[in-house]
Symmetry: C2
Subunit: 211 residues, 2 copies
């Protein structure tokens, strides 16, 4: 129904009672269906106001909200995965970027000096914008989902371990490589950037967990 009506994030759904009438079931049944959609962030409930379409409608990959991250070493696991996956994405971006991509990339690089909107505006996250410049939406969604893993830790990492100036300088260099269409340089710079972050975190966790 959301698809058929072409509803987009922010749009309101019909009320539970109305949906119940339309589908000829009762409200508890409707609620069960809506709760499933809520689980993948397709819709959100606002008590007393209504239910609204959310960002999940156009997000094919997502993080399982029902798996709690307990093991602390998985922060490094995540960084290791990013070190493998993101450099080639940067290379692809360097090969395929449009002028619009460059504009968005520059904007998000500047935002890394004051990353205040990074959580609610994913397109302002540098690494997401970088993946977006590859022209492949699925690639962008993959990186986006990956960055949602251990999101809580990542916020703390940004606040405690990240040197914002250095971060920004790294990002600017990557943007330059992408602008010049230098795939190898973009990949290498991205790898160095992530390795530096990994090292900074690993050293604070103590050598026994650094592998």
């Amino acid at each position: 129904m959301i698809e058929a009506a072409g509803l987009e994030p922010g749009d309101a759904l019909a009320s539970s009672r109305e949906l119940a009438k339309r589908f000829e079931v009762t409200t508890p049944t409707i609620r069960e269906a809506l709760r499933r959609l809520e689980a993948t962030d397709v819709i959100r409930f606002r008590h007393g106001s209504g239910t609204y379409v959310s960002g999940g409608v156009n997000r094919r990959l997502l993080v399982n909200p029902h798996v709690s991250e307990s093991r602390s070493e998985s922060v490094l696991e995540l960084l290791d995965a990013r070190i493998v996956l993101e450099p080639p994405v940067a290379a692809a971006a360097a090969a395929a970027r449009t002028d619009d991509d460059l504009t968005a990339l520059t904007l998000s690089a500047d935002n890394s000096l004051k990353p205040q909107y990074a959580d609610e505006r994913p397109e302002l996250h540098f690494h997401v914008a970088l993946a977006g410049a590859s022209g492949n939406l699925l690639l962008r969604e993959t990186i986006e989902a990956l960055l949602q893993v251990r999101a809580r830790d990542q916020i703390e990492i940004r606040h405690r371990y990240t040197d914002r100036d250095r971060d920004h300088a790294d990002h600017v260099r990557i943007v330059e490589a992408v602008r010049d269409g230098d795939a190898d340089a973009a990949a290498a710079l991205t790898r160095d950037h992530l390795v530096a972050i990994r090292e900074a975190i690993a050293s604070t966790l103590g050598p026994e967990q650094a592998r």
Copy 2:
């Protein structure tokens, strides 16, 4: 509660009525909670039998089951994303593989001659096993989730466009490179393998969609 009790896929949950008593709510409320868990495949209902823990409990990345893939060109989009991401994963596998990984890899390569269990047994899917050999679980889960995108099309692809013998031969060569610890070769062979599949599909879709 699933975590606390250490329940694993296949284990049964308490009945709805019992859960309702335990949490001091009524059954419709319990059902809403369970439906959310169902949406990310943490649990599954079996009418008349019970509700059981499912594979989603230890899957951090997953495909949004509520987004229907309509555009046919996204098959190529998926292949393009895999061409970017999987070669470096293969390289990482060549660098980190253990003997156990090699055994699993050989097994899954053989399975690609008769890929009958590929859907219900993800570890038998060659590209998942390859990612697993990297030693990074998140990397494996990422590839696993990616392969779930357009799963329906992928089954058809396997049945119609794939030359099983050639597929198997490609896989064997990749395994050899991983065994020898030759990261560059593993990456190159994986890229060639995926590019060949992409070309086969692109040609059947007609040149206008091949980009």
